[in-house]
């Protein structure tokens, strides 16, 4: 009986599955040095970028795809992917929103992105990435006033090559892993943020990623640098059309926080998860890492993962500076045949470094949800402190929830705690709610929301509401 309600709630359809008919410049599928030369040339990149891409490509050729994650998928044919697709624009690119293809704007409107500056009320500056390239960035002028640089990656390469060269690949080197190497070789765009010394970014920054074209892979790269004493909050959202074939998304996000700086990075990931039988959907293989380089720096990751056929993602923090703080808050939901292998890495290097990990996994249908985390305390990390809590909620008899926490401690002054809990919604909890007159549906939704509350509280306001709604949508028809 409960099962039915759960099913109804869980099985609500994906509402961002439309395709925008738009003219685009698209490469033929396949990857070679030529393709990389071509991308680099199209982007009019300086020589160092091209060389870096080529080195990454050469290294990538020596690697084989990782197989250790707790996910199953057929081998990906990397020669069958289109590595570059861009909405066709006038040669010099849009100077203002008026020049952006109205169809594109319509798409973003459908998605609820406040791209037009009339969305000013929302107070969020948006950089929108459509397929492989950034199409528009809003509120540029206002941000520039504060000295904040917020633009597409291609623009940053043109206008601030020194900053890009200094920081690119220093947190996630191209040698990091298979997908990071691939991304480094072929990434086409992304966002770039630089917050100067002592500046508190006046508004939330946001990037919206959209995959539109078929058979394309999306490889974007985000680089955020928060200089000393600065503060920034950054949001990321993603959707894709419904297609029967799987599409690859291999992004890299690098965060650098210098002394006393704080970066808050929130993600609401809602790529197309595939249909009920597990056909189609995005393979989301993302490398995200932040480095707290200076004293008292803080990096906080918050993620709501409801989409993607497969999620493979470990937003990490390298706590290099003394007294730096790393945080990871995550809600990962897997429904139907979705698989998620996600978690975090906290590497304690500096003294008095602290990290908190709160991970909530919800599995429904045939979903497989894995938390995989690493807490490593190096010998010099005196008085390091970690608290980890990972909880899993099971909503069907056919799903799975797994926990693989690695704890490696080489310092006696550190204090590490880890706890995990896996169970289904307690019959007594349901009974309690039902007794007070709540319908089963409301009771379950209330319990699930309560379960995720601690993570939702970490999200910026506008996102918290969205996340809550999103969870209801994704769960529709699965609660049981």
């Amino acid at each position: 009986m409960t099962n039915q309600y759960l099913k109804q709630i869980v099985n609500k359809n994906y509402q961002y599955g439309f395709v925008t008919a738009i003219e685009s410049d698209t490469f033929a599928p396949g990857l070679s040095e030529e393709v990389i030369h071509h991308i680099s040339k199209l982007k009019n990149e300086p020589e160092f970028m091209l060389q870096w891409r080529l080195r990454a490509y050469q290294y990538w050729l020596t690697l084989s795809p990782p197989r250790w994650a707790h996910v199953n998928f057929p081998n990906i044919d990397y020669q069958n992917i289109i590595y570059y697709s861009a909405p066709r624009v006038k040669k010099d690119g849009p100077a203002s929103l008026e020049e952006v293809d109205p169809k594109l704007l319509e798409t973003y409107k459908k998605l609820g992105i406040p791209l037009h500056e009339q969305g000013r009320l929302a107070g969020v500056a948006v950089d929108a990435v459509f397929d492989s390239v950034s199409v528009a960035t809003t509120f540029k002028a206002k941000l520039a006033e504060a000295g904040v640089i917020f633009c597409s990656f291609s623009e940053a390469v043109q206008e601030y090559p020194a900053l890009v060269e200094k920081y690119l690949g220093t947190v996630v080197p191209y040698r990091d892993n298979f997908f990071a190497a691939l991304n480094s070789a072929v990434f086409s765009d992304g966002s770039f943020v630089y917050i100067p010394k002592g500046v508190r970014c006046p508004m939330e920054l946001s990037t919206y990623f959209r995959i539109n074209a078929a058979n394309t892979g999306q490889f974007e790269r985000t680089l955020i640098i928060a200089d000393a004493d600065s503060h920034v909050s950054y949001l990321e959202g993603c959707t894709a059309p419904m297609r029967d074939e799987n599409q690859l998304h291999a992004a890299v996000v690098e965060l650098v926080a210098l002394e006393n700086a704080e970066i808050k990075y929130s993600t609401v990931q809602n790529w197309y998860p595939g249909d009920e039988e597990g056909r189609g959907g995005i393979y989301n293989f993302v490398t995200k890492r932040g480095a707290c380089r200076g004293k008292h720096a803080k990096i906080s990751w918050t993620q709501i993962e409801t989409g993607s056929a497969i999620t493979w993602k470990y937003p990490s923090v390298i706590l290099q500076g003394d007294d730096s703080i790393g945080e990871f808050y995550s809600v990962a939901l897997t429904n139907h045949h979705q698989q998620a292998d996600t978690g975090t890495k906290m590497i304690h290097i500096g003294k008095n470094t602290r990290s908190t990990i709160i991970s909530k996994g919800i599995s429904a249908g045939f979903g497989q949800n894995t938390y995989r985390g690493l807490v490593r305390v190096l010998p010099q990390a005196l008085y390091a402190r970690n608290y980890t809590q990972c909880e899993s909620l099971l909503l069907s008899a056919t799903c799975g929830a797994h926990t693989f926490p690695y704890i490696e401690v080489k310092n006696p002054t550190s204090q590490i705690e880890h706890e995990a809990y896996t169970s289904k919604i307690g019959a007594d909890q349901l009974f309690y709610c039902r007794q007070r007159g709540l319908s089963i549906e409301d009771a379950i939704s209330m319990i699930v929301n309560g379960f995720c509350k601690r993570v939702f509280n970490e999200l910026p306001m506008e996102f918290a509401v969205e996340a809550q709604k999103l969870l209801e949508v994704s769960l529709e028809g699965s609660v049981g």
Partner: protein
């Protein structure tokens, strides 16, 4: 995968020697097959997830010989034992009748060294010996099967309750660079009860390698309490596989204490095949020497409904030692109403000690309560201050606090004689 064990190694030679000893043909054939499998599989490398922190490659480069009985019995070797026990003593892997004491054994129970059991009860022993152990996962089980010749066979018939603990005492005396591969088989039939303690000690023996496999079969309603005390020499290698097979309503309690060896690895695998089986695992690992390495790996396979398992392990690490703790609960789709709990606490006393802990859950059904917790920390500064303020020296205070840290685990031992024995051993040899 891993490197194939080089063919010219010492291993080949000693295998040939053991093959020349007379054994039933089926056993010969089985051993040869297992040896071949081991050679193909090779030693595990640190690239393998399950062996990530365990360096064992030096074993291949060490020339181990076969153990020989020592005629020099250490004077006090039996003095400190438990009172009123059934005792089986092994001298460098060979059974010693003169030192053993079986007079308290109920007549219906079969307890004998494996070699004797093979002669007297071949049909009983054979099916247990021919079990295919998962050597791909744990190649040392192949190695143990390849060198199968001695160990213990214990069979407790239906409804039999053995009131006295049975003590398996493996003494390693006055010999170095040898490899012993004991195989212990314990079968507890319906409604039976038994308490067992397996102990490994060394007297003037160094650099040896013990590769032991203990198989424990508990039939329905049976209860087995299994204790293990590992006090090997600090240059030795001790690799143990303990495989527990549990049927309906059976109950197994294990208690492992490790404080010896240069490298020790305990792999405890619990198979809960039928409903309402319970297993409670406790353990201590106390590392007090440089370059000491102790691994504890636990795998609990919940394959039936209403089963319960719990894990409570504590470790204290001093000097430049390294400990690894890994436990995994695997709940199959059938394992409804599973209740599983895992706890691991570590106390680090030195700045060069290292601990790697990984409590895992792999759950494929929804009606379960599984939890785990792990902590790593140091002595509470306030508690230390409290003691120092009362005039207790730092050394003594630290000792007291470390003792307090592990006492609650020892206190959980039900049998008071056993509790005292283990407490005594821990205070004497681990200095706590």
């Amino acid at each position: 995968m891993s490197a194939v064990f080089s063919t010219s190694s010492w291993l080949e030679n000693i295998f040939d020697i053991t093959s020349s000893v007379f054994q039933p043909p089926w056993l010969q054939a089985f051993r040869t097959q297992q040896f071949k499998k081991f050679r193909e599989r090779g030693l595990p490398t640190m690239q393998e997830e399950r062996w990530k922190y365990t360096p064992v490659s030096y074993l291949e480069r060490t020339n181990f010989s076969l153990p020989i009985i020592s005629n020099k019995w250490p004077k006090n070797c039996l003095e400190e034992n438990l009172n009123s026990i059934i005792l089986l003593v092994f001298n460098n892997g060979h059974f010693s009748e003169e030192m053993s004491d079986l007079h308290l054994l109920p007549p219906e129970v079969i307890l004998s060294p494996l070699s004797a059991a093979l002669q007297a009860h071949e049909h009983l022993v054979k099916p247990y010996l021919l079990q295919q152990l998962d050597g791909q996962r744990h190649p040392f089980m192949y190695l143990n099967s390849a060198f199968l010749n001695e160990g213990i066979f214990l069979q407790i018939p239906k409804n039999c309750v053995i009131p006295y603990p049975i003590h398996f005492l493996f003494l390693n005396i006055n010999q170095s660079y040898f490899m012993a591969s004991p195989r212990n088989i314990i079968v507890a039939h319906e409604n039976s009860q038994v308490k067992i303690i397996e102990e490994h000690r060394a007297y003037q023996a160094e650099n040896y390698f013990i590769n032991v496999v203990t198989e424990l079969y508990t039939n329905s309603n049976a209860r087995v309490d299994y204790y293990k005390l590992q006090r090997e020499h600090l240059t030795s290698t001790h690799i143990a596989n303990i495989n527990v097979h549990q049927k309906q309503n059976s109950c197994v309690n294990t208690f492992l204490v490790d404080f010896g060896s240069r490298l020790a690895r305990e792999d405890l695998t619990i198979n809960l095949y039928e409903r309402r089986a319970t297993c409670h695992m406790k353990g201590l690992y106390l590392l007090r020497h440089d370059d000491q390495h102790i691994d504890n790996h636990i795998y609990v396979d919940h394959a039936a409904e209403n089963c319960t398992s719990s894990v409570l392990y504590k470790g204290i690490l001093d000097k430049k030692s390294q400990a690894v703790f890994n436990s995994k609960v695997y709940a199959h789709v059938e394992a409804k109403k599973t209740h599983a709990q895992q706890t691991n606490h570590n106390l680090l006393l030195s700045s060069s000690a290292e601990v790697n802990t990984k409590p895992e859950l792999e759950i494929y059904t929804d009606d379960v309560t599984c939890l785990h917790g792990a902590t790593v920390g140091q002595v509470n500064a306030e508690a230390l201050f409290y003691l120092r303020a009362r005039g207790i020296e730092k050394e003594a205070a630290l000792k007291l606090l470390a003792h307090a840290f592990i006492t609650d685990v020892i206190e959980k031992i039900e049998d008071s004689a056993m509790k005292n024995y283990i407490q005594r051993q821990v205070s004497h040899y681990a200095g706590l």
